[in-house]
């Protein structure tokens, strides 16, 4: 029954649409002319620039740090000169403070020879992860080193490696698992060592059989007891932290609590790779595998790009846009953000840029709720999105707390199934905002 692992309640089956890019090997994108590094790459405190305008920086040099609060440093993805410290386009907030770097194409790429990590103390390993600026690559971008230091009162006994990649279109993790399984596994072992535990589950959805085979192979080769590959059912949102933990370990993370409260830490496979890079090679996180797909792009691809690359540069590299483009989405189609300009840069948490055509999206106007209750069936958190929507529409968002609006992680399953096409996620966001006030 191993192959049928999944979370029990809710979930939807949107078309996977992964065939466009799942067979394409990761391709290194040439350096663009300019990189634009948003100071606030992830959840937590934004960076403070440590460089000034017109400073020359080397590849991998620290250009921003966080003095207080939750955060990680920012590194220069390439050698070059600081052009400006100002504002740039941002996928969510329209504009945000950033550092613009003029790339020095002539500079030799930095080399990162393998280093010994097996004998380093835990503190040193953790320091290396923190210094490399690693954040959770999958979604919200929680600083990884914080996750690796769980609170003392909730001991962690299991590491779950998230290779579910349940969002349609995205194949970045899939390709990484195929192309660098050993690195991912080593990254996982480093994390296990930091945490001082030896149980690791690698969860992969069944629609990636080659990745499952490949990961199983390296796991078998490593011959480390405690590390297992767990094939998962294909169901969205399988890759969500709480759902994945329940699917694999059967434990339920309480509302408003971290996974460590049930003794589990979840990391994305991409994060494990980044940890490997940081600890075993000393390479900070400034590159990212991004899936570029959709009917609106000339050539879909899985690209290894520098953090800070503008979407426009990627489009140019891939041969431009195609007619019929209706929507540009940063991230997956279920949780990503639609953008109105190609000036937005790739951040550490961007896993895909989708150029969706008219047929791929649904642009029908929404109508009144008919109380079909499909959203209740779809919600993996057991909430009542229809009620939240109705209360928000009636301008009474403060009362939605009774329906658990703060448990919602905005996976979009409800809005996906809604036959009235109601923007339920937007209602939830509005409710959260107003209810907090």
């Amino acid at each position: 029954m191993n192959s049928l692992l999944t979370f029990p309640k809710g979930g939807v089956h949107p078309p996977e649409s992964k065939e466009q890019t799942q067979g394409l090997a990761i391709e290194v994108m040439p350096l663009p002319d300019e990189l634009e590094l948003i100071l606030s790459q992830h959840i937590g405190a934004p960076c403070t620039p440590t460089v000034a305008k017109r400073d020359v920086v080397a590849e991998g040099a620290v250009i921003g740090t966080v003095s207080k609060g939750l955060g990680v440093p920012l590194h220069a993805p390439a050698a070059g000169k600081i052009k400006d410290i100002g504002m740039s386009a941002h996928p969510v907030r329209v504009s945000a403070p950033s550092i613009t770097l003029t790339v020095d194409r002539e500079a030799t790429p930095a080399a990162y020879p393998a280093r010994d990590w097996q004998n380093l103390p835990t503190d040193e390993l953790l320091a290396r992860v923190a210094a490399a600026g690693i954040v959770g690559i999958g979604g919200a971008g929680f600083p990884t080193h914080v996750k690796l230091r769980p609170p003392a009162d909730s001991p962690v006994d299991t590491l779950v490696l998230n290779g579910a990649e349940c969002e349609p279109y995205i194949t970045a993790d899939h390709r990484q698992m195929l192309e660098s399984p050993a690195e991912i596994l080593t990254g996982a072992r480093i994390i296990l060592k930091i945490l001082g535990i030896d149980s690791c589950h690698i969860g992969i959805e069944r629609n990636k059989p080659d990745a499952i085979t490949e990961m199983s192979r390296v796991v078998a080769e490593a011959d480390q007891a405690g590390i297992v590959v767990r094939p998962l059912q294909v169901k969205y949102p399988q890759g969500s932290e709480k759902q994945l933990i329940q699917a694999i370990t059967g434990r339920k993370v309480p509302a408003m609590a971290l996974p460590s409260s049930v003794g589990v830490v979840v990391h994305n496979v991409g994060t494990a790779k980044a940890v490997y890079d940081a600890v075993a090679l000393g390479k900070p996180l400034y590159e990212k595998v991004v899936t570029i797909a959709g009917q609106g792009i000339a050539r879909p691809a899985n690209l290894l790009v520098k953090v800070g690359t503008r979407v426009g540069d990627i489009v140019n590299y891939l041969g431009g846009l195609r007619p019929g483009l209706a929507k540009v989405v940063m991230g997956g189609p279920m949780m990503g953000f639609a953008v109105s300009t190609l000036d937005v840069p790739i951040t550490k948490t961007t896993s895909a840029v989708l150029f969706l055509g008219e047929e791929e999206i649904d642009s029908n106007p929404h109508s009144q709720c008919i109380r079909c209750g499909w959203c209740l069936d779809a919600c993996p958190m057991g909430l009542e999105p229809k009620e939240i929507g109705l209360y928000v529409e009636a301008n009474r968002p403060a009362e939605t707390a009774q329906f658990g609006v703060f448990d919602c992680f905005e996976c979009g399953s409800c809005a996906y199934v809604c036959p009235a096409k109601r923007p339920l996620v937007q209602f939830v966001r509005l409710a959260k905002m107003k209810a907090k006030r």
Binding site: Y391, A394, R396
Partner: protein
């Protein structure tokens, strides 16, 4: 097998439920009941003489108010167990009245017993009638001001309903005593209205005082409704109906519980609906009371489904 088991289980449950009607058994008669339109079934405590029981001429059967009119028995059939006899009559029976059956020739000479619908069933019927069939709000249209005033929120509705039921039962019981032991004997029936409203106010005042002293928390949540109870016509309608129908104490009690419960039910239904209604886009001219009336009218239409219901 399972069918049989479930059959037995359900029968057992029914037995427990119907047990009070078995308590009426006396002497050599274990049970007697109306069955089909023209049939009375008698169960004897022990097997009886078939020849005696099956002889039609041994019987005298009449309706209690008409002892001179004998009902014509067509046939009496004793079942194989020798205990259960079915009395078939030529005419359908009027099951609303009590029937007196007299059998001659059994042990002890003459055996007389009465067949009537279960009194508990009748009392229960009053309760169900006040609760559903003649629901005070949806089919008798009483207590509307308070109904519309307190049916906007579920918590308010529940509070009002509960307080109302308590006051209704207490004041109706008191009214019954006063009516039967003071008003009727002294021919003061014309003071009905004053006495009933006075008793109601008194009850409300008493509940108010007691609640304030005994449970201030409860008082804080329910106290506001107490004033409204007096303005509710249902509370005064209960003793008036009691007086009009000449109910005895148990009947009055059941009526009061049924009326209170029915009011609570109506309030609860209406409030759960109004909470949803507040989210709706109501045309401005209908906002507030007009739409509440229209919804209540729809409820009243649904409650028409109970009309003509005769449980017992």
């Amino acid at each position: 097998m399972i069918l049989d088991m479930s059959k037995r289980l359900i029968l057992a449950a029914l037995f427990v439920w119907l047990a009070p009607s078995f308590a009426l058994a006396e002497g050599i008669i274990a049970d007697q009941t109306f069955k089909a339109a023209n049939e009375i079934v008698v169960t004897f405590a022990a097997p009886v003489d078939r020849a005696v029981v099956e002889e039609v001429n041994n019987y005298t059967v009449f309706e209690e108010p008409d002892p001179d009119i004998r009902l014509v028995l067509q046939q009496v059939a004793l079942a194989g167990d020798g205990r259960t006899a079915s009395l078939f009559f030529t005419e359908p029976l009027n099951t609303a009245t009590t029937h007196v059956v007299r059998i001659r020739g059994l042990v002890g000479g003459e055996t007389t017993f009465k067949v009537s619908k279960s009194y508990f069933g009748y009392l229960f019927g009053i309760l169900i009638s006040a609760l559903l069939i003649n629901n005070f709000v949806f089919t008798k249209y009483l207590g509307l001001c308070v109904f519309f005033g307190t049916s906007k929120k579920k918590t308010t509705a529940k509070g009002m309903g509960v307080v109302f039921t308590i006051v209704a039962v207490v004041s109706a019981s008191m009214s019954w005593f006063l009516y039967n032991f003071v008003l009727i004997p002294f021919d003061l029936n014309f003071l009905q209205i004053v006495v009933f409203i006075g008793l109601t106010s008194l009850t409300v005042q008493a509940v108010d005082t007691i609640l304030r002293k005994v449970n201030p928390v409860l008082f804080n949540s329910f106290g506001v409704f107490l004033v409204l109870v007096i303005a509710n016509c249902v509370i005064i309608a209960i003793p008036l109906i009691m007086a009009g129908n000449g109910y005895n104490f148990f009947e009055t009690f059941m009526l009061a519980i049924g009326a209170g419960g029915g009011f609570l039910l109506a309030l609860y239904l209406m409030s759960s609906v109004s909470e949803r209604l507040q989210l709706a886009k109501i045309p401005p001219t209908y906002k507030g009371l007009p739409i509440a009336f229209i919804v209540a009218g729809q409820f009243a239409m649904a409650f028409l489904g109970f009309s003509g219901l005769q449980l017992f």
